[in-house]
Symmetry: C2
């Protein structure tokens, strides 16, 4: 099959649904998928599109007819073809209520970051640049496995995942005060999949789930996929507002509370010991289960209180992964929980994915984690971030962007924009200049963060980021309206 651009003018295209027709059909589908064409919009005229695609008008007619037969587009007599405005029947998470502009949809930042081309800067993304990752240690580990005897490259591992990696995790968890037997651990394909499995085990559609406001935006996407009723509690620099937390638990009795305790995403907050204690008591009183996502644990300068440590893995489930410090390509997450929850989680993982991470991924991570170079690597990461954080904060402050707090570690800065700026507009303007930002409301179930933005300090080394931000936060319109408000204040 050939792409449209490869079709010479003389290529025969006589068979039914020929490749030229398919190319045109596909081009339209792609425009729909990327929202370049949206519901109700008029399609290009047959003549114009034929010219653009380098095909005959008859081919475009055939393509449009085919899409019309599928109900994707509709012909209006004498006026051309229009995108059908019937919603797709399948669950399209991006389209679920409450409907939001794509720019503050939780998927927007993920997709823009994952698919960013080489010329794009991504201060909004949630991971470190490739050159910060331990490439040499990974290469060594992979080479060692390629030399090893046994079918580690071909076979399914056991249902709970690599015993070596689980033993290693046990030791790491003990270091932060969590006693977990190896039988309380299961490996998963990723940290996100770990939370997904827990939701599958514990949630039914319509169940209330509590998250922080703001919280990691993909928690919101995940909970939408589970058709949960999302409620949120405002964050403070010491954890969720505990009085509100207690009131919400009493009123709503959410099934789950999902959080990051050590270094909170996006705020960088750290849970205080006292708040942790009250939070656990409230959860116990109202039978709420807590999912503690420890994905940023290794970025902490010294370990902070973990809910799972206080609680002894009774009603707290700890999840984590190594995608932020080690590799997002060789993927593996984990769950530490009550032993009697592990069996149902394994069954669910077999049913929905036939097992967790590939054996190869688990063994590669084990190699790196046991090599000794990992400890040195995370120390270097912490030091490098410790230098970058104040430098980036100062540069942001110079253009009126102010951190909400100065985090103890990690790579996120949660910031307020200059007066008069809204994060969506700034993000949209920056995207035109190939800079992907993370507007605040993406992180907010309550949509309370319209003027906030999350920055990844490791992706703010390039001065272009600040040039674009300066332009995007002071566009002509805003500037004139600011001047007006200054003037009116003067009067």
């Amino acid at each position: 099959m050939q792409r449209a651009t490869h079709l010479g003018p003389g290529t025969p295209d006589s068979r039914r649904g020929g490749s030229r027709t398919i190319a045109v059909v596909d081009a339209i589908r792609q425009r729909l998928a990327t929202r370049a064409l949206s519901a109700g919009q008029r399609l290009p005229s047959i003549r114009a599109f034929a010219a653009a695609m380098g095909v005959s008008p008859a081919t475009v007619v055939e393509a449009y007819d085919r899409l019309a037969a599928e109900g994707v587009i509709r012909a209006r007599r004498g006026s051309g073809f229009y995108v059908a405005d019937t919603a797709l029947p399948p669950l399209a998470l991006a389209d679920r209520e409450p409907r939001r502009p794509r720019a503050v949809d939780p998927f927007w930042v993920s997709r823009q970051s994952l698919d960013a081309g080489p010329g794009t800067l991504t201060p909004g993304c949630g991971w470190l640049p490739a050159e910060w990752m331990p490439q040499d240690a990974l290469r060594r580990a992979v080479r060692a496995l390629a030399r090893s005897a046994g079918p580690v490259l071909s076979d399914y591992g056991g249902a709970r995942g690599s015993p070596a990696l689980r033993r290693l995790l046990q030791g790491r968890l003990a270091g932060i005060g969590i006693d977990a037997f190896s039988e309380q651990l299961v490996l998963t394909s990723s940290g996100t999949q770990a939370i997904d499995l827990i939701c599958r085990m514990l949630l039914r559609a319509g169940d209330a789930v509590l998250v922080d406001d703001p919280c990691y935006f993909n928690f919101l996407a995940l909970l939408r996929a589970h058709q949960a009723r999302i409620i949120s509690v405002p964050m403070t620099p010491g954890g969720p507002d505990i009085a509100q937390f207690e009131a919400i638990l009493a009123a709503e009795r959410p099934r789950l509370y999902i959080t990051n305790s050590g270094l909170h995403n996006p705020t960088g907050a750290t849970l205080s010991l006292q708040t942790a204690h009250r939070l656990l008591n409230a959860a116990s009183a109202h039978d709420t289960i807590i999912v503690e996502d420890d994905i940023y644990g290794d970025f902490e300068p010294e370990p902070s209180p973990r809910l799972a440590a206080l609680d002894g893995l009774t009603r707290v489930i700890l999840v984590g992964s190594f995608s932020k410090t080690l590799s997002a390509s060789v993927r593996c997450g984990y769950i530490a929980a009550r032993a009697d929850w592990i069996e149902p989680l394994i069954d669910l993982q077999i049913a929905t994915g036939f097992g967790g991470p590939g054996q190869f991924a688990a063994e590669t991570l084990t190699q790196v984690l046991t090599s000794g170079s990992y400890r040195k690597h995370v120390e270097e990461l912490r030091a490098r971030l410790g230098r970058a954080r104040p430098r980036v904060a100062a540069r942001l402050q110079r253009i009126g962007i102010a951190p909400w707090l100065m985090p103890r570690g990690g790579f996120h800065l949660w910031c307020s924009l200059p007066d008069g700026c809204t994060a969506i507009e700034v993000a949209q303007a920056a995207l035109e200049e190939h800079v992907v930002l993370a507007p605040g409301d993406v992180f907010s179930a309550a949509q309370s963060a319209a003027t906030m933005m999350r920055f990844n300090v490791a992706h703010c080394e390039d001065s272009r980021v600040f040039n674009v931000l300066e332009r995007a936060t002071t566009p002509p319109a805003t500037r004139s309206s600011r001047r007006q408000s200054v003037n009116s204040a003067d009067r």
Copy 2:
């Protein structure tokens, strides 16, 4: 933290929830999880268990009290401790209705096969032995990637997965008559996860889903996880019984039909072209979407009709993976579907796993698939299976186990047991001799296959398999009852 076996008699254990107590608690939990202790059963006496674990009776008392406080066990005055028979509130798939003995639960075969020790034979398992897999090609591919420039070992790939692998898949699909643009493909963590994402997109709890009877047992597990209403249609050697298929679609209007068309699991049947045509017409008339799992495609001697090819990926979604021919450790699956379904699937994959396969897995598979050695490898697999299949069938027939049909390819033989044998009893007897079998009802939503069994010919090279089968199919009790029935027939 130490395991119970490492606790010397003098180790202090004074802190609350000390490691000895935890060891005892955990030992009980493990027995519960593995069903060594079941609901209502009496726990070992305190004195006996203390001796067995090498701890003091006080430690066992403390452990039992702790489990009793959690409601896991209950004390009966003067009689000891018993496992509580209250069901766990979380979704435990193994416990869902209709309740089945664990030996015919879909998870039984998976778990026994995944966790089989080195001394165990696994003729019931669903994959090839490690020595049949292309270990050298995998090692070469992994070494090549370890040498390559760029962050393939550390970074997330794009949201749709490796463009190189998707281009390669396009070519492979074109070879079986399926024209799919690269934008119609998305890579997933596994073939199972591919079907799971489709179910997430298209199913709501309670929706009817049609499967073959028998079908791949994990389809049943997956559909239980989605709380679908499972209905089934009897298989014939040419595909599902088409008259019944049409009647079921008219009566039940299932949302999905999930099948393997080329080489059906477990029967080895191949869909006939005529049945495929009628099946698609019925699906179109009643708006049923078809999921065609092509995981055994490369085992076919020559490609058979694919529903996806007939239909042009309009209402058929094709899924596949390389876990059966290449690697189940370096994991990657894929979906080929209508372009307008790919975006919702990608969003779902981000929400529930933050992307599909690791970039490293996708690039390793691409390396092997493009190296030229893959074609030779699958040719060798087909030849080797072609020799093993009749040999194993003949050995099975000698002990009264008869193949339902002789498949064109693949490694499965679907067989009937000798008269008077039930597959569960045979499987349970064989497991005591460390042979894992796959009893028929594991594959049957209608529980219509109590006397059938699936054999993997590649795992039947060891004569012990047949010795154990012979003993298990003619135990003393069965033998005497057979004699009786022979006698009564004589009269």
